[in-house]
Amino acid sequence: MSGAGVPLKLAVPRGALFGETLDVLDAAGIDTAELRGDSRSLIFETGGMVLVTMRPSDVPTYVEMGAADVGITGKDVLLEQSDRPVYELLDLGYGRCRMVLAGRTGRDDLGESERSLGMMRIATKYPRIAERYFESTGRQIELIEVKGSVELAPLVGLGDGIVDLVATGRTLEENELEVREEIVECTARFVANRVAHKLRAAEIDELTAKLREASQR
């Protein structure tokens, strides 16, 4: 954790949330012009803060360990890494998407497997969310963890369906998949390190207030 007197470190997610995150930061009075350029740097100093850009799924790690004092990432990431204790301070509202169970359009592989095998075979990048969801609905699954394009899996027979994040639904459609069940809705969240939240209270409260206002515009 960075101590008093040094700038607050904010973990900024690259990827799908990057653009809107920069917009909200700008609206909160934090100049992000440098981040918008095609610089290869990952660390930027701006407006009395240090912005560190990284994969969204790394944000909870940096924040939990105190390498970043605060950060922004998706609720999907926080749910999947719920064993990382970070303080969730604010729902920023953007980056809205749904975690869903999807199966092949016009086919009932999911239902057939459940009937004759007693369980469904589910491919996903979110093993913990999937496991918790099926456990809480009293069903058994065989979990297949993949790292890349999960929508490919059922097409080639790897699993009966997928649990994945859906924004517009176009990717599903293009791969002849359709939503069967909605698990949870996810948006971008503002998180803080537990110790930073205590020891840099004034700065973090001020930033939270600015982000709240900016995200509601």
Binding site: M1, G3, A4, V6, E64, M65, G66, A67, D83, P85, Y87, E88, L89, L90, D91, R189, N193, R194, V195, A196, H197, K198, L199, A201, A202, D205
Partner: protein, 330 residues
């Protein structure tokens, strides 16, 4: 040949051992110097004893049967074993009792997170000294211990364990909803907290008040700000915290204490004041404690109690980070 040890355990070699020894000695000197006699208890207890003490938030992860079929468990902390010891060995003695310890404890870990299954705690228990004087004494010892450990910048958070339980009761929230709300609070998930409060049928204005309350942390001014948010439960918590804080001011040890109304520790036996310890050089909590006035009664001895425990290994890391910072002259 490489012979592995279980993840979450470790060997300590002489260089580190020497530093840890110095740290341990410094801490024990502080404790003993203030009348806290060192005790040791078995790492193994009857499971029934630990369950009785910890209640629903039972933390012991390693349980097994002995040769007679008795269920044993490895302790997960030292407060419950010392409560057992006091009830058994000091039932007739005149309180208050002062004890300190440096002892290994055992907890479950999340896989591949570098968490420790076995760790050392250094702490004190003050039994039979009620609030606020007992709490003030414990904070004083804690500050002296942090100084002795070379953590002059460390901060002690002071909160109240009963505030939200009583506040939710006052708002008419049922038991089940209350547990879910307290869980969100303990995890400091403000988005979830807001959702669960609304789902429990609390009006939006009161939801806002509750959430705002959890964000109050700082010096004496926090108590005034909280009073503005009103309610009998808040008023009572503020009265308890004011008393303690005034006691700390009288003893000249309030400066490093941060009043924190968002504090909630996950061990089930706390009541009244709760403590957490931070150092700016480390992103993790260094230790914690507070009052557990109902704990001794579970062992048949109706005495108030308070104490704290520091995670020795984390204190060691923080000390190293602090001296590194000193060398760099930042």
């Amino acid at each position: 040949m490489i012979h592995p040890i279980p993840p979450g355990t470790r060997d300590v070699l002489p260089d580190e051992m020497r530093e840890l020894r110095r740290l341990k000695n410094a801490l024990i000197d502080v404790f003993e110097g203030r009348g806290y006699g060192e005790v040791a208890t078995p790492a193994l207890e009857y499971d029934e004893v630990l369950t009785r003490g910890e209640g629903r938030s039972y933390n012991a992860a390693y349980r097994f049967f002995d040769e007679g079929g008795e269920l044993l468990a490895l302790r997960s902390e030292m407060t419950v074993p010392i409560a057992r010891l006091v009830a058994t060995r000091y039932a007739g003695a005149q309180p208050p009792h002062r004890f300190c310890y440096l002892a290994g404890a055992y907890r479950a870990v999340n896989p591949q997170r570098g968490e420790m299954r076995e760790f050392v705690q250094a702490g004190v228990e003050l039994i039979g000294a009620p609030a606020p004087a007992g709490t003030v004494e414990v904070v004083e010892v804690l500050e002296a211990a942090l100084d002795a450990a070379g953590l002059g910048r460390a901060v002690i958070g002071l909160g109240d364990a009963d505030l939200y339980r009583q506040l939710l009761e006052e708002l008419g929230v049922g038991d089940e909803a209350r547990d879910a709300i307290l869980a969100s609070l303990a995890a400091h998930d403000l988005v979830g907290l807001e959702e669960k409060l609304s789902a429990a049928g609390i009006g939006s204005e009161q939801v806002e008040t509750c959430v705002a309350l959890t964000q109050l942390r700082g010096g004496r001014e926090v108590l005034e700000q909280a009073r503005g948010l009103g309610g009998g439960a808040v008023e009572r918590a503020i009265a308890r915290l004011s008393e303690t804080y005034e006691g700390l001011e009288e003893r000249g040890v309030a400066e490093r204490v941060q009043i924190d109304l968002g504090l909630l520790r996950d061990l089930g036996y706390y009541s009244g004041a709760i403590l957490e310890v931070y150092d700016p050089a480390l992103g993790h909590v260094l230790g914690g404690g507070g009052r557990y006035d109902g704990l001794m009664k579970r062992f048949g001895l109706d005495l108030s109690a308070a104490g704290f425990a520091l995670y020795l290994e984390r204190v060691h890391v923080a000390r190293m980070e602090e001296s590194r910072r000193g060398e760099e002259g930042r």
